[in-house]
């Protein structure tokens, strides 16, 4: 199938890292063929979804402040349609976990994740959420949130700059854009 359909404004496809994962994912999704009409309908839906991902900010520490910078005027997350930060998990599409997750917080993080409605995505922002970061040897720190719940995008940095966060969000947008709800259902002929 044509991979060029996954378009993000201003950044050409070739300049993204890790295109292989996306291609593999797309191949997997399209293995059974795509219905022409429903496939196009999917594209329209995904165009809308990917440009209005509403994030829930699970900010525990420093990375949360960098998210605030990203949301403010200078970096302006509204360019990506993501300025509508929801504080209720029921209304959010995307959870941005920004900051260290510790033992006491782990059950609460999982509970908030469980409360989100499908389809839902998780972005792990910062070294602490990826592996425990500088606190990896601590007795009270969870060594990576992927031990608790599935993660779509990891954004490294301590804390990551707003630009890196945007890059991670654009990677997520690409992932959302190739998803199919209607077009690839296996039908019995």
């Amino acid at each position: 199938m044509e991979i060029k359909d996954v378009k993000i404004k201003n950044i050409p496809y070739e300049e993204f890292n890790d295109n292989e994962t996306l291609e593999k994912y797309l191949q997997e999704l399209q293995a059974n063929g795509v219905n022409v009409v429903l496939g196009k309908l999917d594209e329209i839906i995904n165009w809308g979804r990917s440009n209005s991902l509403w994030p829930l900010i699970f900010a525990t520490s420093c990375c949360g402040i960098e998210f605030m910078s990203a949301a403010a005027a200078h970096h302006d997350i509204a360019r990506f349609g993501m300025e509508v930060t929801r504080n209720s998990p029921r209304q959010a599409d995307l959870m941005i976990v920004a900051g260290t997750i510790v033992h006491k917080m782990a059950p609460l993080l999982r509970r908030v994740y469980d409360q989100m409605a499908e389809p839902k995505y998780v972005l792990a922002m910062g070294a602490c959420t990826i592996s425990g970061g500088p606190f990896v040897n601590s007795y009270h720190v969870v060594q990576g949130i992927d031990k608790i719940m599935p993660v779509d995008v990891f954004v490294p940095g301590c804390p990551p700059r707003p630009e890196s966060l945007f890059y991670g969000l654009m990677q997520l947008q690409r992932k959302v854009k190739v998803e199919q709800f209607l077009g690839n259902q296996e039908r019995k002929r």
Binding site: I57, F58, A59, T60, S61, C62, G64, I65, E66, M68, S69, A72, A73, H74, T85, N87, G99, T100, V102, H103, K104, M105, A106, P107, L108, R110, R111, V112, P134, F135, N137, S138, Y139, H140, V141, V142, K147, I148, C158, P159, R161
Partner: protein, 543 residues
């Protein structure tokens, strides 16, 4: 201080008095409360401010160090030490009836070292879960992750507080008290709440929409920094302080570097002192700008939030050009600073000063006299001076209660004794005083930078230090004025390249400990506004 020594010996004849970095007095646990209350109430020099309460595992005994000072003159300090050799059931006497700030600190010592305090009305573990196995700061702690696995099961919060009380005849009884009354209506604010400025959990009982009582639960971002530091060499542990109170990252790190330099006798070059002072003040401005932005956001002014963040971004650019970091600055090292100033630094900072003065006027014009803002801040969240001292509320919030508690004035470090600035003090004790204090402090910080920026001398930016820094045996303190109040560092060294015990005095812990007091009988909606005016940072509390 001679009269104080005499007073100590009169009160407790067997006390051991040592002249170390600070005047240190070691007493029996039974005499500690008597001595502390005598020192607190004596008319000559009352030691009414408990700066640090540090639990230490000394090997042969579990002990506690108290750093006390006089609230009128912060440079008059005294250290009390006590300890018990019973490791199975260590009991010491509480000073929570003398110093309000001891409540949370003693609960923290219980969670991390297992020492329980007699007569403290609430002896729940503060930072860790109730069922945590072992006491992390003890030297014989077993760090096996199988003992304390990551659990995804939520536990109910039981509002029962165990305590130990001493009866008149000297016998001890263990009791369980209720935190709330049976028919209280309780709501949870936090831990995942956008307006608590972090992951704090306030269990709030309400009468209608009026707050009756707040119970603070902490530890949702407890990262074990103090324990981690014990296994790191001195230069290695520097980066952890940046991540305590990340909004005044540079000042925290300055405090730790100063403590190590004083202990090891390292002379910091003059140019490094200039850079440190200027960067500290820029950091303070960026922190106050963020505090202002989030406070106004809490009160409903979303545009103001965008304004504050806009000005802050200019400072972040300056930080980035200097040392590559935006939020976490990583500039100070032992002996000086890591990076020199970039060529256009002076122009950038001077331009910022002019711009910021203009913006401050604008802030005042469109928010400080807004009728809604005034209604939500004036006479709301009253914190009297005695309470501020007792809770240890320092920084702009403490000075909003009329307490002169600026470390830069009382115990000048770096170049603060060579520059001229006013300590901003207000006497209204309400949210509005704290709010105005921050804006005025930005002006004072600009004034300090102005005096230094044109006369930065040339020369080295970092003193030559040994590759492995060893501190001599002893106990070392340093205190700096961070953006939220007094940040303190305590290092106990046994002559090794690793510290034996590190303790960070968090300004935000005191701010939060005062929240239940000042929010009582206020509206629940004002609780958020008061929290914004106190401006605490949670990772600083949990460490």
């Amino acid at each position: 201080m001679e009269t104080i020594k005499k007073l100590v010996l009169d009160t407790v004849p067997g006390a051991l008095i040592e002249e170390k970095q600070k005047l240190t007095i070691t007493v029996d646990p039974q005499k500690l409360h008597l001595l502390a209350s005598t020192l607190r109430t004596n008319s000559e020099l009352p030691f009414d401010f408990l700066v640090q309460l540090t639990g230490v595992d000394r090997g042969d005994e579990l002990g506690v160090n108290y750093l006390l000072c006089n609230s009128g003159d912060l440079s008059k300090e005294i250290v009390l030490k006590t300890g018990t050799s019973d490791r199975d059931n260590p009991l010491l006497y509480s000073v929570a009836d003398l110093y309000e700030t001891a409540h949370f600190n003693e609960r923290e010592v219980y969670a991390l070292l297992g020492i329980r305090f007699i007569n403290n009305p609430d002896m729940r573990k503060f930072l860790l879960n109730v069922g945590w196995v072992g006491y992390p700061l003890r030297k014989d702690y077993n760090p096996d992750p199988h003992l304390n696995p990551v659990s995804l099961e939520s536990h109910d919060i039981i509002d029962k507080a165990p305590r130990i009380r001493e009866l008149e005849d000297g016998s001890l009884v263990e009791e369980v008290g209720n935190v709330f009354e049976d028919d209280d209506y309780i709501i949870n604010i936090g831990p995942q709440h956008p307006s608590t400025h972090g992951v704090m959990h306030f269990r709030t009982s309400l009468d209608g929409e009026v707050v009756k009582k707040i119970d603070v639960h902490s530890g949702y971002i407890h990262r074990g920094i103090e324990k981690l530091s014990e296994s790191m060499m001195y230069p290695q542990m520097l980066h952890l302080t940046d991540r305590l109170d990340y909004l005044s990252a540079n000042i925290n790190r300055h405090g730790l570097c100063m403590c190590i330099e004083n202990a090891a006798g390292i002379e910091v070059p003059l140019r490094a002192q200039y850079i440190r002072t200027i960067m500290d003040e820029l950091n303070r401005i960026s922190s106050h700008l963020l505090a202002w932005a989030t406070h106004t956001n809490d009160l409903g002014a979303v545009t103001a939030f965008i304004y504050g963040m806009r000005e802050r971004e200019i400072l972040l650019d300056i930080f980035e050009k200097t040392c590559g970091g935006r939020l976490i600055i990583n500039q100070n090292v032992v002996g000086g600073v890591m990076f020199d100033l970039y060529p256009g630094f002076r122009q950038d900072v001077t331009a910022f000063i002019v711009y910021m003065r203009k913006q401050l006027k604008e802030y005042n014009r469109f928010f400080s006299h807004n009728v809604i803002a005034l209604g939500r801040m004036i006479n709301v969240g009253l914190l009297k001076k005695e309470d501020a001292v007792s809770h240890g509320v320092t920084g702009p919030s403490g000075r909003g209660s009329g307490w002169s508690c600026d470390i830069r004035k009382h115990m000048p470090y770096a170049l603060y004794d060579q520059v001229e600035f006013d300590e901003v003090i207000r006497y209204e004790c309400d949210s509005y005083a704290r709010y105005r204090n921050r804006l005025d402090e930005i002006e004072q910080s600009l004034h300090i930078i102005e005096q230094l920026i044109d006369s930065i001398p040339g020369g080295e930016i970092c003193a030559k230090t040994k590759a492995v820094i060893r501190l001599p045996e002893g106990e070392f303190f340093s205190r700096v004025e961070a953006a939220r109040g007094e940040f303190g560092v305590f290092i106990e060294s046994r002559g090794d390249k690793f510290p034996y015990r590190v303790k960070f005095r968090s300004p935000s812990l005191s701010l939060v400990s005062a929240i239940p007091l000042i929010c009582k009988n206020e509206k629940i909606s004002d609780f958020i506004g008061i929290g914004g005016s106190m401006d605490y940072v949670i990772p600083d509390i949990d460490r």
